[in-house]
């Protein structure tokens, strides 16, 4: 199985929506506390070596997240800890990169998400309690959404409604927004502790999944948001990230500070269907490939990136 060693601690990994064998990794030095950052673009190949680095970009501050463009196969955006978003064009030589630096947030940018329906806009969520909407052709943000009272850790577009997205915050609420509306349209007090990640179900447009410091992953139906559809217990520490499968309606992937990556099927009685303990530090970034069914990737503070097929051992050579 392909394994890549990054010089800095891993923070996020995402597959390219255009190339089946390409992925990018966001890393930050010194665990992201204080230091530089680096964005790696990796290519998977059968031989000679399973993983090769296609490009790497250094940043002054740690890179906490990244997002691939849905309309441009060589464009990606990095969420940097100094509050800026950097756009990189892989078709240009490295010395011409980054092509844009969008600096409006006053605190660290924790996550970035590209709109999969409209394909021209993306969201950034920051520790300054706001979410901002951007397009690649404008130097300034289109909208700023500020209703949360604490850090916004994640924002995720609804895959079936091009103007709807959800944000998860440290103020223990999930808010659903519509870009055409002035404020948030829905408020879900999903957990009693900070909510670190949220993601929409790709096959059920009213289903949203949240991950929290309270060690649970909860599945919600926005039409009946007082009671969760499912509460998934199994992690022994805070759940850092959660992703819904692009191929299966009921499959959820999560990673946690307990160093494990778990796969769940929330419609069955015993929801935990797979558990991977390949990381030796906090598992912080995960992704499920849209183009290749069952292809999973994860990264963590142990400076390793694993890519493996569902059902196989990530550490197998």
């Amino acid at each position: 199985m392909p394994v890549f060693k990054t010089p800095f601690n891993g923070y996020s990994v995402k597959f390219s929506p255009f190339y089946e064998n390409r992925l990018a990794v966001a890393t930050a030095q010194n665990f992201g506390i204080l230091g530089n950052g680096r964005l790696h673009v990796l290519d998977l190949s059968p031989s000679p070596s399973p993983v090769t680095e296609f490009a790497a970009f250094d940043t002054a501050d740690g890179v906490y997240d990244l997002a691939w463009s849905e309309s441009h196969e060589n464009l990606l955006v990095a969420a940097v800890a100094d509050g800026s978003l950097k756009l990189y064009d892989l078709s240009l030589p490295p010395q011409s990169n980054p092509v844009r630096s969008l600096h409006e947030h006053s605190r660290e940018v924790h996550s970035a998400d590209w709109n999969p329906s409209r394909r021209d806009s993306f969201l950034s969520s920051s520790w300054d309690d706001t979410v901002k909407l951007w397009t690649t052709d404008r130097p300034a943000s289109l909208r700023t959404f500020s209703e949360h009272s604490y850090c916004v850790y994640s924002a995720s577009w609804n895959p079936r409604h091009p103007d709807v997205f959800a944000s998860a915050s440290g103020d223990c609420t999930v808010r659903v927004w519509d870009v055409r509306e002035h404020g948030s349209t829905m408020l879900i007090p999903a957990h009693q502790h900070e909510i670190l990640s949220c993601d929409w179900n790709k096959y059920d447009d009213c289903c949203i999944v949240t991950a929290s410091v309270d060690k649970t992953v909860r599945v919600w139906d926005v039409r009946n948001f007082r009671v969760p559809v499912a509460v998934l217990n199994g992690h022994s520490y805070a759940v850092r990230k959660v992703r819904c499968s692009p191929h299966s309606r009921n499959l959820i992937m999560s990673c946690s500070y307990d160093m494990s990556v778990c796969l769940w099927n929330y419609m069955i009685e015993d929801a935990l269907i797979e558990r991977y303990d390949h990381h030796t530090e906090f598992a912080v970034g995960i992704d499920m490939s849209v183009l290749v069914e069952g292809l999973l990737a994860s990264t963590g503070w142990d400076e390793l990136v694993y890519v493996w097929q569902h059902g196989t051992d990530p550490r197998a050579p």
Partner: protein
């Protein structure tokens, strides 16, 4: 189910009522009446809190908001607290509306009133003023009698409490005045009397004044000596205590030093073990990095003072074991030192107006976009595992769990022929959709590319006609009653159109020649018209 929900939700194009939200609308009809006309438009979308306002939650929120301590906190924290308790935005707004807008005079007066409970007169005056002030704005609020009663009740509570405190304070003062002071006075008088008695006796026994004066002086001197002795003893005791304390402190310091030494030793031991574990690259970077510049420490001090506080917050409730080097770096940063391996990097764009290159690949459609109809699409899998994964183990394919979507595989070529394959096979999916996905990605910003698929094909044409007919037949009957011939022909025309629409939807758009796309796009308009007519 999936098709129905997908077909129904297209808010900005056609303002059709959402079947998914209709159950919500019918069960929560109160919300629409309470919320007003504007909210009806919002309720068409599913992503809205469409529950009615719960009065008891609002009252609890009002009680919370009128608490004097809460009034000091910023508004956003109050809102967040109520949000976390599960109140909807409407309930929170209603509660904020009911709580009177605190003017600066009233808040300061209230805080002083609650703090200075001991001064009876001033506090009662203030409290009498405050309820009057609060009652006036409350009476203008549109809330019912209940809230005012609640308010008065609450104020009388506070009034009683402060009155009780004041009374107890006054009582202790009175007790002090009445009981203790007299005792003191009597005691002093007693002492004085005793002394006077002694003097009288002495006067009676020894008439000479000088002797008396001498005796008195002696007594005074003795008393003074006693006092001096006592005070000296006290001073000595205090000094002894001080010395003892100092010794104690020294001992503690010594112990602290020892513990610190032990900790350093442990750290060194850990570092040694760590260094043997770490990768060579990292070690080189760490040891061989250039030393920090003092300027940067000063500049960054404010920055990294705030961040460590935030960075540990995600793991606040149950602390997972952090890696040891993480703790070292946190200590370093909190002490104000900068880790030595940080480089100065200029990551600004070299040319901020650099033209972004044009994309050469078409965006690929997502598996969930293709599988909107409940049919499962299975492709002949030539190679169930991606080619770039080493051909080591055998059956690790994605067929182990059920999917309703598509199973993709690499065919090694560029993605474009892949897309063409899909277009050939997906005839049922509207041509518009596949065209939209196949087009080049560069469009005007925010232009809609996702077009909803047409309504699912009708399995029973008779049922469809029957569903549509009763309305048109009723309308026809009505109009025939009014106008005999004139109205019937246009209605017949509409009927014919309805039948044609049914046939078109049945066939999935294949039967209509030539303008297949245009007819499909016009069906939505015709459906709109049909609704207007029916």
């Amino acid at each position: 189910m999936a098709a129905k929900s997908a077909a129904s939700i297209n808010p900005s194009d056609v303002n059709l009522p959402d079947p998914a939200s209709e159950p919500a609308k019918t069960t929560d009809g109160d919300a629409s009446t309470q919320g007003g006309v504007a909210d009806d438009v919002l309720q068409k979308s599913v992503f809205v809190n469409s529950l009615p306002i719960r009065e008891e939650q609002v009252q609890n929120a009002v009680k919370f908001l009128t608490h004097p301590k809460v009034r000091d906190s910023p508004v956003i924290h109050r809102r967040n607290f109520l949000e976390r308790k599960g109140l909807t935005t409407e309930e929170i707004d209603e509660a904020f509306r009911r709580v009177p807008d605190p003017s600066p005079v009233v808040t300061s007066v209230q805080t002083t009133g609650s703090n200075q409970g001991g001064q009876l007169h001033t506090s009662t005056n203030i409290l009498q003023q405050a309820p009057l002030n609060t009652l006036q704005p409350v009476s203008t609020a549109p809330s019912g009698v209940v809230s005012t009663m609640v308010r008065q009740f609450h104020w009388s509570h506070a009034f009683l409490a402060i009155g009780f405190l004041a009374a107890s304070g006054a009582g202790t003062a009175i007790i002090f005045k009445n009981a203790i002071l007299p005792r003191l006075k009597t005691w002093i008088r007693k002492v004085a009397f005793d002394q006077e008695d002694d003097l009288d006796k002495r006067i009676a026994s020894r008439p000479s004044l000088a002797e008396e004066a001498a005796a008195a002086a002696k007594a005074a001197a003795a008393a003074a000596v006693d006092v001096a002795k006592a005070s000296q003893e006290m001073v000595i005791n205090r000094n002894e205590e001080k010395r003892d304390f100092k010794e104690f402190m020294n001992l503690l310091d010594a112990q602290l030093q020892e513990i610190k030494k032990m900790r350093n030793d442990i750290h060194k031991l850990e570092e040694q073990t760590h260094k043997t574990e770490r990768q060579p690259q990292v070690e080189e970077e760490y040891l061989g990095g250039s030393l920090t510049r003092s300027k940067e420490i000063r500049d960054d001090r404010t920055e990294f003072d705030s961040r460590p506080v935030r960075s540990s917050s995600p793991a606040a409730s149950a602390e997972p074991p952090h890696p040891k080097s993480y703790m070292e770096i946190m200590d370093m940063v909190q002490r104000g030192e900068k880790p030595p391996n940080i480089r100065e990097i200029n990551d600004l764009p070299p040319n901020p107006s650099q033209r972004i290159s044009n994309p050469s690949l078409a965006p690929r459609s997502k598996p969930w976009e293709l599988s909107q109809s409940p049919n499962t699409w299975s492709y002949a899998s030539r190679d169930s595992r991606p080619q770039f994964l080493a051909s080591g183990s055998g059956s690790g394919s994605g067929s182990t769990f059920q999917t309703s979507g598509v199973s993709y595989e690499l065919n090694g070529d560029s993605p474009v022929p892949w897309l063409q394959q899909q277009q050939q096979k997906n005839v049922r999916i509207t041509e518009i959709e596949s065209e939209a996905n196949g087009k080049a990605a560069i469009d005007l910003p925010l232009q809609r590319k996702w077009v909803p698929p047409q309504a699912p094909p009708v399995s029973l044409p008779e049922a469809a006609i029957a569903i549509r007919q009763p309305k048109s037949s009723a309308a026809r009957d009505r109009l025939v009653d009014n106008n005999d011939n004139n109205a019937s022909t246009p209605l017949n025309g509409i009927d014919d159109e309805l039948e044609r629409i049914t046939k078109i939807s049945e066939s999935g758009g294949r039967e209509v020649n030539g303008g297949g796309g245009s007819v499909i796009s016009s069906t939505s308009e015709i459906q709109e018209e049909e609704q207007v007519v029916a």
